[in-house]
């Protein structure tokens, strides 16, 4: 199956994506991650207002095959969570980069974006996996 790695997004080695939006980012898991997890049944979302550091576990994704954490791609404050996922966690499987977004984080240190991976770099990560 062809794994989608859209241009214009940034990635982490833990298979999260981040999209720059105003003062912050939207974050979710990549197509590769959702295809590895397969049917997602449940997601535990963080609280709005929670302060997080880059690399902190901010959500738990329960899938049939396994359970995994979502790590904050950047440091900052959780300003939005995708409530729709509580009823329809399968959106992450169907549309990981758009309606399947998980959190929005207001960045405290925009320089951290430099530490994230470009699409071509992320492609190398999944080829090694």
């Amino acid at each position: 199956m062809e794994i989608k790695i859209p241009k214009g997004l940034l990635y982490t080695e833990d298979h999260e994506w981040a999209r720059k939006e105003n003062e912050g980012i939207a974050e979710g898991i990549t197509d590769f991650a959702q295809s590895e997890l397969q049917d997602i049944v449940f997601i535990e979302l963080p609280e709005i207002g929670q302060e997080v550091a880059q690399g902190d576990s901010i959500a738990t994704i329960e899938a049939v095959k396994t359970v995994t954490d979502l790590y904050a791609a950047v440091s900052g404050k959780i300003v939005k969570i995708n409530k729709e996922l509580e009823k329809k966690p399968e959106l992450i499987n169907k549309d990981p980069y758009d309606t399947g977004w998980i959190v929005k984080i207001q960045m405290s240190d925009p320089a951290e974006l430099e530490t994230l991976l470009a699409p071509s770099e992320y492609k190398k990560v999944i080829q090694e996996d």
Binding site: Q38, D39, F42, E62
Partner: protein, 374 residues
């Protein structure tokens, strides 16, 4: 060890399956979605490649006696072309493997788990006694399963024969596309269904024919993900998870596959002693309302104290709840007992329940042979 491929490997790639390593084989985990595939089997039919399973043939004048010493069920009771699910034990009464034994008249076919095929073959060969020949024929045969309420319609079209008289846990010789196959009314899903054994070289041809016959019945190819979910909805054991060399069939709620009245078999003395003294723990079904999944190795608590361990768990979209199996200390094995499961540092409530979890399976109609005796 080099990863093995089944003779249907190309078919899985053509169908865009996501492939994983399982028991040394490159196998399809899913084609579309585990949940959709599970639903197809419950509502219409699903097609599985189970060629990774091992097959061992036993022939010779003393074959019946020989196998009877190795497995717990009295296979001398099997009529020609009848099959039985049973287990093979070590001297300590622990389960070496769970398997199917077919009496095919002049020979026995023993179908074993993929991960155990070398171990089983070696064990059986080492215990050879009398006039018997044991052959590992796993590579020679493919195996596919068609499971679901509409599977009879599909297979009927492929073999061009009436199958209404073929009873559950019975087999017959048939032909598909002119090729000889062994057609068995068995499965691992709780639905009516068939397992087909044939020569590996003909696997693709037969797979294609079954797919073609299944078109109008909504036959869906299914991967290992659906297979695991379906068996768990039925409370069927998975070797390595729910049963191991450290568990006995009495503990595993498998006394219905044990003939303690049989003259002798390896492990019998241990089972007799265990029966007399009483088992200390038992494999049970646990219903865990909600979507948090109890997984292999998680602790089971009763009133805050550790009382057992989860061996398998999943979320069932058909039951709309998380379900699990696990060993729990007596006397907490009684149905209705409230338990708590530690799921990632959070205590989740559950209840001991009878299996199957899924009670509407079409297997029921024809299952007189497999009814649990306990």
């Amino acid at each position: 060890m080099k990863e093995r491929k089944t003779s249907l490997y190309k078919k899985h790639l053509e169908l865009n399956a996501s492939m994983v390593n399982f028991a040394g084989y490159r196998m399809p985990m899913q084609y579309s979605s585990i949940f959709n595939e599970t639903k197809a089997v419950r509502n219409s039919a699903g097609l599985f490649d189970t060629s990774h399973m091992g097959e061992i043939e036993v022939t010779g004048n003393d074959a019946t006696e020989f196998i009877n010493r190795l497995v717990t069920f009295d296979i001398s009771k099997l009529k020609d072309f009848q099959a039985k699910y049973t287990v093979m034990l070590n001297e300590k009464g622990g389960i070496i493997d769970d398997l199917l034994v077919y009496n095919l008249g002049r020979k026995y076919l023993v179908v074993v788990n993929a991960s155990n095929q070398e171990k089983d073959f070696n064990w059986i060969s080492e215990h050879k006694k009398g006039n018997v020949e044991v052959q590992n024929v796993g590579e020679k045969y493919f195996q596919i399963a068609v499971q679901g309420p509409l599977s009879e319609e599909i297979i009927k079209g492929a073999v061009k024969d009436d199958l209404s008289e073929l009873e559950f846990y019975h087999a017959k010789e048939e032909k598909i596309e002119g090729e000889e196959i062994l057609l068995s009314r068995t499965g691992y899903t709780g639905e009516d269904g068939f397992e087909i054994y044939g020569k590996s070289t003909e696997a693709e041809k037969i797979w294609d024919r079954v797919i073609k016959e299944g078109k109008e019945y909504n036959l869906s190819p299914c991967g290992l993900g659906a297979r695991d979910l379906l068996r768990l909805e039925m409370g069927y054991c998975l070797y390595g998870n729910d049963i191991t060399a450290e568990t006995t069939p009495l503990e595993a709620n498998l006394s219905w596959v044990v003939s303690l009245g049989k003259e002798n078999f390896i492990g019998k003395d241990i089972l007799l002693r265990q029966k007399k003294e009483g088992i200390k723990r038992k494999l049970v079904g646990i219903l865990v309302p909600g979507k948090r999944i109890p997984r292999h190795g998680y602790k089971i608590l009763v009133e805050g104290k550790e009382a057992g361990t989860i061996t398998s768990g999943t979320y069932s979209p058909n039951i709309e709840s998380s379900i699990a199996m696990g060993y729990i200390n007596k006397p907490y094995d009684k149905e209705g007992t409230k338990v708590q499961i530690e799921i990632r540092n959070m205590v989740t409530e559950g209840e001991i329940t009878g299996t199957p979890f899924w009670k509407q399976g079409t297997i029921k109609k024809k299952s007189s042979d497999r009814k649990r005796s306990n």
